[in-house]
């Protein structure tokens, strides 16, 4: 999906690209900042409407700030929550760049996480230097293959990936339910669906336990940063990345230029799924240490929001992932300190995306912020 561009002639668009004026800056920076601001104000109004008094509203936003960046443990929690969102968000952003709408990240997170956990508890006696990469790789491959089904169907038969990924999501929930009851996966002596525990050699090691044993920040952060850099390099510095972007911007032009459209779709979908699978592996090996039904906890859907907020640019996705991680971590603090349900964060996140996706709406709400800047830009 392309960003909603203002209609204009081709020369206007080329000019915009050659010398981005204030409009581009507004869309990239001003709109997101205002969107977050409006969403927080509307969140406060929601609390007010549900009989939360003003001091509590103030206290909850203070708690939101403290719980996300106010202390070392808060920052650790923010980063821990940001990792899977950023990884899966990168995958969705990659799909957007190639013109694919991957709603199936949730299922790919589940399948990838499941594969990583299975490898994580299966190979007893391997050294960590082999076992951990193996488990991560299993997660990436499983997620990638699962997503490639949708990519292959799109390339071979034209089945729209939105529908097939939604169906693959629904299938993955049942598949995980089934897998968790298999003898070699289900934990011994348990009747409920829960997997065995990941062995220590396959765990993503915690990094800050030497300061405080409760800090959950783990080595997945390197995975996240590496993924951001690699995807940026791939998209903007390699031939394959160029082909992805060309197919996304104009499928017909890409085909006439001799690019193999089908292969590109399958590859883009597979890589998106691999990133989502890594997000699942990150949860399974770094945070949970086991798999249960629905352990993806909506990461795949939040990741769509992260990719949109990050404008499908790897660094943007990283920033958006950090913001959503901060909201998540701060939301937990808010629930404890002010007694306001963490579900408020879901409302705020959805509102942010509404305003990001509808820049026209933000412009009509805050005409002063844009008119001034636009004038400066046009002069």
């Amino acid at each position: 999906m392309t960003d909603p561009q203002p209609p204009g002639t081709l020369s206007d668009q080329l000019l915009d690209r050659a010398a981005p004026d204030r409009t581009a800056f507004e869309d990239l920076v001003v709109v997101p900042i205002l969107a977050v601001f409006i969403a927080l104000v509307l969140g406060a109004l929601t609390m007010f409407a549900t009989n939360v008094d003003l001091p509590t509203i103030g206290r909850s936003y203070v708690a939101l700030l403290e719980g996300s960046v106010g202390s070392l443990s808060a920052i650790s929690e923010t980063l821990t929550a940001a990792m899977p969102l950023t990884l899966a968000g990168l995958g969705i952003a990659l799909g957007f760049r190639a013109g694919l709408f991957n709603i199936g990240a949730e299922g790919q997170v589940l399948i990838g996480g499941m594969a990583a956990v299975i490898v994580g508890f299966s190979f007893d006696g391997l050294p960590a230097a082999i076992h951990l990469p193996l488990a991560l790789l299993a997660g990436a491959i499983a997620g990638g293959l699962y997503a490639s089904i949708a990519g292959w169907l799109r390339a071979a038969t034209g089945a729209h990936e939105v529908i097939s990924t939604i169906m693959l999501n629904l299938i993955s929930y049942r598949l995980v339910d089934y897998l968790l009851r298999l003898d070699f996966i289900q934990r011994e002596g348990r009747a409920d669906p829960i997997s065995r525990s990941v062995l220590e050699t396959a765990e993503l090691p915690r990094l800050l336990t030497w300061i405080d044993a409760n800090l959950r920040l783990h080595a997945g952060i390197f995975l996240m940063l590496a993924a951001v850099v690699v995807i940026h390099w791939l998209l903007f510095r390699t031939k394959l990345g160029f082909e992805f972007r060309a197919s996304g911007a104009s499928p017909d032009a890409a085909r006439y230029a001799g690019m193999r459209a089908g292969l590109i779709i399958v590859l883009a979908m597979g890589m998106a799924g691999a990133l989502a699978g890594l997000a699942g592996a990150n949860q399974g090996l770094g945070v949970l240490g086991r798999a249960t039904p629905g352990f993806s906890a909506g990461i795949g859907f939040d990741a769509i929001a992260v990719a949109l907020l990050g404008r499908s640019h790897p660094y943007g996705v990283l920033l958006a992932g950090l913001l959503f991680g901060a909201l998540e971590a701060g939301g937990r603090q808010m629930q404890v300190d002010a007694g306001v349900s963490i579900d408020l964060i879901g409302i705020i996140q959805a509102l942010i995306i509404v305003f990001i996706a509808a820049p026209l709406l933000v412009r009509s709400l805050f005409p002063w912020a844009f008119r001034k800047l636009a004038k400066v830009g046009r002069e």
Binding site: T50, A159, V162, I163, L170, A305, I345, G346, I353, A357
Partner: protein
């Protein structure tokens, strides 16, 4: 071949090979089913399968249906093999989907007989559960049909169902069932209007708009239910609509309890499907709506207001989904739980595709999905070796197969998903 073939002929041959390929794939599928029935179901089957058709105190009681399991299994396998071979040899290309449908029906029957062999099982009860479970899926599918016929992709059905369920519980607790129902319809319509505003006026990508509405509704309803309902339980205690028995018809065996002794949501769904079919295919308004979905520019040129048509249809679709959402609370348990729709809206989307963007088709698909759902519930009771999860997956796999055009293809409205910018 030195001469250039006539393009029309070429086109015809291309279509023909497509049909032959479908027939061949269907033939393989039927042969596979025959093998499954013969070698898996036929192996360890003993005794008779007893299906209870009536409860003992029904006015017109039917005797139990007793089927000897082993002969039945082999007869079904033979018929399936015959149909498969016939299709495979391209003898019945014209009747591909019919043969496949009949084959699937037989395979399901054989499966039921195999699962029940030596036991007894209430067929009427299961069919009743099928109809009840199909209601929200059918209404979700109908909402999808109404909005996609004007080329607005409606991923937001899930959110509209959830909003309807929530409103039904809240207003139902305060004003009673009927008030709750009207409020749920109104709130569903509101979200339909919001979707229309986002995609028509603000030109947000349709799928993004749908995802956002889903996230927003999930956030608001979960927030209120954990923030408010915890303390004020009386706000989440709505009355449930009781089943209404239609005189005479309700006393008929089997179809009486299945079709004519249900609550207003079942009747409502059937009426809405009938009205929507009439509206879309037999009225001037419906023709205009479909024109907007197929070719908005042409419709605009002929003086149809594309924007208004989309606003109206998507809002009505939201109202239908709101009604379907109320089923979750006012039609079954009377209480709202977080995320209680559990993906039914997405299944409704699948039903819409399965029903080929037709209201009646969506209803039929919803019944099939409802059947798979209730069958999965009963499987746990019958204690079969086949894991119920695979049965639960089957509707989604079937949808993917259909969308991919492996066996028949479903074609969406031509302009589906595209924003229209008036010149």
């Amino acid at each position: 071949m030195t001469q250039i073939a006539d393009p029309v002929q070429l086109q015809a041959r291309k279509l023909d090979t497509g049909k032959v390929r479908q027939a061949r794939i269907s033939g393989w599928a039927l042969l596979g089913l025959a093998a499954l029935v013969a070698f898996v179901f036929g192996q360890d089957v003993v005794g008779d399968a007893t299906f209870r058709l009536s409860r003992p105190n029904d006015p017109l009681a039917l005797p139990n249906l007793v089927i000897p399991a082993l002969p039945f299994t082999y007869i079904v396998a033979a018929i399936l093999a015959f149909l498969g071979v016939r299709l495979f040899l391209q003898g019945g290309v014209r009747w591909t989907s019919l043969a496949l449908g009949f084959g699937l029906f037989l395979a399901v029957a054989a499966f039921l007989v195999w699962a029940t062999a030596g036991k007894s099982f209430s067929l009427t009860g299961m069919l009743q559960a099928t109809v009840v479970r199909a209601v929200p899926i059918a209404l979700g599918g109908l909402a999808g049909v109404l909005s996609e016929r004007v080329a607005v992709v409606n991923i937001a059905i899930e959110g509209m169902l959830l909003a309807g369920a929530f409103t039904g519980a809240l207003i139902g607790s305060l004003l009673g069932g009927l008030g709750g129902l009207f409020a749920a319809v109104a709130v569903g319509g509101l979200f339909g209007f919001i979707l229309a505003a986002l995609v028509v006026t603000y030109r947000v990508d349709q799928i993004i708009a749908g995802v956002v509405i889903n996230l927003f509704v999930l956030g608001v309803t979960s927030y209120v239910s954990s923030q408010v309902y915890q303390e004020h339980r009386f706000l989440n205690n709505a009355p449930v609509f009781a089943p209404v028995k239609i005189p005479v018809l309700g006393d008929l065996p089997v179809i009486g309890p299945v079709l004519f002794y249900q609550n207003i949501f079942v009747y409502g769904a059937v009426i809405m499907v009938a009205v929507a079919t009439y509206y879309l295919f037999h009225t001037r308004m419906g023709l205009r709506a479909r024109a907007v979905g197929e070719h908005p520019r042409a419709a605009d040129t002929l003086g149809i207001n594309v924007y208004r048509t989309r606003y109206v249809n998507v809002t009505v679709a939201g109202m239908v989904a709101g009604f379907g959402g109320a089923w979750f609370t006012l039609g079954s348990v009377g209480r709202f739980d977080e995320n209680m729709t559990g993906g039914r809206g997405y299944i409704g989307l699948a039903a819409m595709i399965f029903g080929r963007w037709h209201p009646v088709g969506a209803l039929m698909a919803a019944l099939v999905f409802g059947f798979a759902d209730s069958l999965q519930q009963k499987l746990a009771l019958l204690n079969t070796p086949i894991p119920s999860e695979f049965l639960a997956m089957s509707p989604y796999i079937a949808t993917i197969v259909l969308v991919a055009g492996l066996i028949g293809r479903a074609r969406p409205p031509a302009a589906d998903g595209k924003a229209y910018v008036k010149e």
